[in-house]
Amino acid sequence: MSDDNKTQLKKTPLDTLHRELGAKMVPFAGYDMPVQYPMGVLKEHLHTRTNAGLFDVSHMGQAFLTGPGAIDAFEALVPGDYKDMPTGKTRYTVLLNDSGGIMDDLMATKIEDGLYIVVNAACKDADFAHIKSKTAGKAKLEILEDRALLAIQGPKAGDVIARLSPETIDMTFMTFAKVSIAGIACFVTRSGYTGEDGFEISVPASMAGELAKKILAEPEVEAIGLGARDSLRLEAGLSLYGHDIDTTTTPVEAGLRWVINKRRREEKNFPAANIIMDQIENGTERQRVGIKPDGRAPAREGTEIQDVDGNAIGIITSGGFGPSVDGPVAMGYVKTAFSAEGTKLNLIVRGKAISANVVKMPFTPHHYRT
């Protein structure tokens, strides 16, 4: 990375704090982001699984979509049911294109006058342009440029936030509330991207540093970088946009048919509903599956998957070492005939076949606050 490129990278409101904490910074989605702190990816991962980790995810896109027509207009872009969802509830969904491909995956929360949405950093400009043009005249899109987003994840996250914000104690997984944390006005969802309990905290950019320091001052909490964020989500079986899902994959192929909610299946009024409903009824040629390589060698993204007779049947889309599993873990697409749990596969790593099995995900159990 040249210095020229480096100067063009955007910085999050926590940039100074990352440097004070000794983070190793890398370019990610146009931002200069902490990939790890001095603790290192392995220990950061394990710390999050046993205590609590604080992540800067301010590079992600936040917006309000409001107005009387907001819910209807948003439903026209996604297969999720937001009409029948109570206010204060958060739901994961996908933006679909006209061929049923996934333009992005996102979280949308029902608020009093519409939706609060959080989208991926790399997709946010395209997502917001798409949402804005498709909802023009029906809803107002307000992009929240001046807000940071922090995530606290791990089994101690609930205790830590309850200490700083008693009003969060009764929040359950995938709910939203406007609260005060350590005296700072925030809005939070009890959600995350690690498979653990936790919160995503939206805070005014000007207060983000102060809030992060107050949370980091709690004894259970360490700052965690993007490296561990990736290994945590992989063990949790959660897809990474641009790798495990993209415009060439449909939610049915991606094992996300649960995002097509019942009412929407009946109404068939989301993008490419005919294609998606046909796939739900008749199946797809390929499926995203969890893959557990035998032995210790990780099989990385791009690794060819073969059947036991040596025929190419798919590709790894995310793969690495799972510190909590204490072994390699992966996910990828295989021909549907090879997608059943327990199917034996070979992964071609550095020219050699490594035996592997199709397994159920997650690789580590989810611990959500239900």
Partner: protein, 125 residues
């Protein structure tokens, strides 16, 4: 008495007669982070300087360890293949990767000594 040389790829080479013992430096280890998988070459493998000879993987990524000299691998270190945490970064220490019976010892000539490697490291910051 063995002599220790360093490469720009942050490997150390401990030379004893025509046997070169190869490892990675503390700097390399720090860049890689905690290692979770190490693959070392089998004895008998013939290598040319610059060939990929071993693999080290962290949680994040896989990296190669190159053969700094040409020759025949006489031994890969089973201790680090069994336990990647045994890779130490200590030049000449127990956390070595492989030993090569050198076919061309003049390949050592372009390598750095301890002081030169120290200067090279400071030039990187």
């Amino acid at each position: 008495m063995s002599t220790i040389k360093y490469t720009k790829d942050h490997e150390w080479v401990s030379v004893d007669g025509d046997i070169a013992t190869v490892g990675i430096t503390a700097y390399a280890l720090e860049q890689l982070g905690d290692l979770v998988f190490v693959e070392v070459p089998d004895a008998g493998k013939s290598v040319t300087a610059g060939d990929e000879a071993a693999v080290v993987e962290s949680v994040k990524a896989a990296s190669e360890v190159y053969a700094p000299v040409s020759g025949e691998v006489t031994e890969g270190n089973p201790a680090i293949a069994d336990d990647p945490a045994a890779v130490s970064g200590e030049a000449g220490g127990d956390g070595w990767f492989f030993k090569i019976k050198m076919s061309n010892t003049s390949e050592l000539d372009g390598m750095m000594n301890d002081a030169e490697y120290g200067e090279y490291l400071s030039s990187l910051d």
